[in-house]
């Protein structure tokens, strides 16, 4: 913190000023109580979803700035804007943040905002656990970002392979920050996976059979299955490495029979399913968006469901393709090559189903639809290069080259990020009650999309030309200069695109088209039958579903009044009480993580004891629900004009 040079000092000052600013604004407008009562202690899935969304967008900014710094460093040969060490730290935090602190909270934002509304439930199965999951993620992200200004960031890549990350080669606290922050957010993610699987299986509205569920909900089922089975592997890998570093065990050092390759193996048992965890919900979003804006039911619903579930199972048999060149035998490589290629089959089925849905539909090109259309081309290329990488012998050529970088950015940005942005635009009116401005949104879309191709197409070529990943600078005579420079221009265009999204959000808060109907897109699923934003109890009366796309069917047959509450039949609703404990638990986990980062074991264990105390306190709680009186429901429903 004290001896890290002007770049970090400037950041320190900026962070300090921002914090002072936030505290000042909250105090000036007397918003502390509001913040605590309405947000920090909330267990409402919609509010938790919004907090996930804000955090994800902030982290996208942080990870994006990392990306721009890297691209600036690589723009010209022999550049020395960043030192090698600083560059290592930046690509490590870029990868970790984008996957674990941007993509994950972004999909959880969508889970939280949409799933209970789509299945006709009043909240998730375990609202209290849901709040814990959020605060674990939040404080883990805080811990991870703290490394930036306090002690040094991790610098061994987001994969954190030993022996590079063992104490002998990596003394600093940076690696500990990584291990503990990812561990803490991982615990939260497992909780979310369990929570949503239970929610979808147990809390659907009467009549909503599994095969009548909206496809986004199905994609959450698939993603949750993968989360529950994959994240424990990561937790074990990180815990063992932490034991190696903090308590001097030898799981991954050769010294006493440890095996560093086992970490690589465990990491990718989680790591490859992880990329399906973040893409599956995006597939669900595309299915909703395409059906809504083509005004048709989705083509091949059952094949969509089957392909989602198939992807979630096959995802467990592909992980060794991350270390084809490790030296395992031909049989191992062949098996994992074939399994990796097989993922392309159900994925192709899905893409064709989206295209067939659009075919002869009345397509409206709204913002979500634009992002979906740009996704199709992107994913076609990303998928094709993925199959190229899955060919084990060819992978010996591509391994760790820029070809690989271009491939996974094309699937993760062109698939996951485009999907999540499409979902954000699509459900934004449901969250906040107004639409995002289309004109500014188009600027963002066009800039981001063009920027994407300008940035990553040259990187495929650079890969073939022999440029390896994680290089911090390169000599002038390699012939890589021009392509790298073009790539950097593309990165800045994407940055500009992101800026337009920010401007769009700020502009639309004031001038965005208000959504008074609750159904701005002429939607098909249950969430559009509610006012925007939905009341905190969601449904005054739980609907009884008889068909797929139930809301659409009701509209077609002029039966929408059936979902309106009737004053005489309303009953009081039991809702979970707010609780301060999830937030406090997050704080305690933060201090536990901080303690172990710096080997302050007393602080670490003391904070863990507080976590245990909070859990015991919860176990003794008897009344965690309260009844919303009929009068209040009547008042709320009347205010939205539904009575």
């Amino acid at each position: 913190m004290w001896n890290e040079g002007p770049m970090i000092w400037t950041s320190d000052v900026l962070i300090l000023l921002t914090s002072v600013g936030i505290i000042g604004v909250l105090t000036h407008f007397k918003k502390w109580k509001w913040l605590w009562d309405e947000w920090l202690t909330t267990v409402d899935h919609k509010k938790i979803g919004i907090m996930y969304l804000i955090a994800a967008l902030l982290m996208m900014f942080r990870g994006g700035v990392d990306a721009l710094l890297m691209r600036t460093q690589l723009a010209v040969p022999n550049n020395h804007l960043l030192t090698a060490e600083h560059y290592d730290q930046i690509f490590t935090t870029h990868g970790t943040i984008m996957i674990l602190f941007m993509a994950m909270p972004f999909i959880f934002a969508m889970f939280n905002i949409v799933v209970p509304l789509q299945i006709g439930a009043r909240d998730v199965a375990f609202p209290y656990l849901n709040a814990i999951s959020f605060w674990l993620f939040f404080f883990a992200a805080l811990l991870f970002n703290l490394s930036f200004v306090f002690g040094g960031s991790p610098d061994a890549g987001w994969v954190s392979y030993p022996p590079l990350t063992e104490l002998g080669f990596d003394k600093g606290p940076g690696e500990n920050f990584y291990l503990l922050a990812v561990q803490i957010t991982g615990i939260g993610s497992i909780g979310t996976g369990i929570n949503f699987l239970a929610t979808i299986f147990k809390m659907r509205a009467p009549g909503m059979k599994l095969m009548k569920m909206p496809l986004f909900t199905w994609s959450v089922v698939a993603a949750s299955i993968v989360i529950i089975a994959a994240f424990p592997a990561l937790a074990i890998a990180l815990a063992l490495l932490l034991l190696d570093r903090v308590f001097g065990t030898h799981f991954f050092t050769m010294l006493h029979g440890g095996d560093p390759m086992m970490f690589v193996n465990l990491f990718w048992i989680w790591g490859h399913p992880e990329v399906y965890i973040v893409i599956l919900p995006a597939f669900g979003i595309f299915s909703e968006v395409v059906a809504t804006f083509s005004k048709k039911r989705i083509f091949g619903y059952s094949s969509m469901v089957a392909s989602l579930l198939l992807i979630s199972v096959i995802s467990y048999f592909v992980w060794a393709h991350h270390f084809f060149t490790m030296g395992a035998g031909a049989n191992v490589n062949t098996f994992f090559a074939v399994a990796s290629m097989m993922v392309a089959i159900p994925t192709g089925v899905k893409v064709f189903n989206w295209l067939f849905t659009m075919y002869r539909g009345r397509v409206t090109m709204s913002l979500p639809m634009w992002w979906t259309a740009s996704f199709v081309l992107n994913f076609l290329m990303g998928g094709a290069t993925g199959v190229m990488l899955a060919v084990a012998p060819a992978d010996y050529q591509y391994h760790n080259s820029y070809f690989l970088i271009a491939h996974f950015h094309q699937t993760l940005i062109g698939g996951t990020v485009y999907g999540l942005l499409a979902g954000m635009y699509y459900w934004w009116p449901k969250m906040f009650g107004f639409k995002l401005d289309k004109k500014l949104g188009m600027w963002a879309m066009v800039l981001f999309n063009i920027g994407f191709y300008v940035c990553f197409m040259p990187q495929y070529a650079l890969g073939f030309m022999g440029m390896q990943r994680r290089m911090y600078t390169y000599p002038a005579g390699m012939g890589w200069g021009t392509l790298n420079f073009i790539s950097t221009i593309g990165a800045y265009l994407m940055g500009l695109g992101f800026l337009f999204i920010v401007i769009e959000v700020i502009y639309s808060i004031k001038y965005g088209e208000r959504d008074l109907t609750g159904d701005p897109w002429n939607g098909r699923t249950l969430e559009w039958s509610l006012p925007s934003p939905a009341p905190h109890y969601n449904f005054a009366v739980i609907p009884t579903v008889t068909e797929r796309d139930y809301w659409w069917e009701l509209k077609e047959n002029n039966r929408t009044h059936e979902l309106r509450p009737k004053a005489e039949t309303l009953k009081s609703i039991e809702m979970p009480k707010n609780s301060a404990r999830p937030f406090l638990m997050g704080v305690a986990f933060f201090f536990a993580g901080f303690g172990f980062v710096f080997h302050w074991l007393i602080l670490g264990f003391a904070a863990l004891a507080i976590v245990a105390a909070i859990m015991i306190h919860r176990a003794l709680e008897v009344h965690d629900e309260y009844a919303v009186p009929v009068d209040e429901i009547l008042e709320t429903e009347a205010a939205t004009g539904r009575l």
Binding site: A121, L197, F201, A229, I542
Partner: protein, 113 residues
């Protein structure tokens, strides 16, 4: 819960339908502690040679799973479709696939060293 219609699948919160006596939890807790204690002491004291030790540990681990499932997770109690049975089968499938394939992948290690 209000607005609860029809069968148990559609209940609005997952409320414990069965009253659990704390005694069952305590027995389960003690059993799992004992099983863990035995495994730890066997591993720490090197009381057996490597291969039989692994076999014994795997058997103890299997018992541990059974204890967890019956005493804490109430695997025999359910209302509505038996989703948890499907989940268990899928979980076992993943677990064994990952364990055996890891052994298979890491097999090269013995050849190298």
């Amino acid at each position: 819960m209000s607005a609860q219609t029809g069968t148990s699948v559609q209940q609005q919160t997952v409320t414990p339908r069965h009253k659990h006596k704390s005694g069952k939890y305590i027995v389960g807790y003690l059993l799992s502690l004992v099983l863990t204690g035995i495994s730890f002491s066997l591993a720490l004291t090197h009381s057996m040679s490597f291969q039989p030790l692994i076999v014994v540990l795997v058997i103890l681990a299997a018992f541990q799973i059974v204890v967890q499932l019956f005493f804490f997770m109430h695997v025999t109690e359910s209302d509505g479709p038996a989703y948890h049975a499907m989940g268990l089968v899928l979980g076992l499938f993943f677990t064994f696939a990952i364990a055996f394939m890891s052994v298979w992948i890491m097999g090269f290690n013995s050849i190298v060293s």
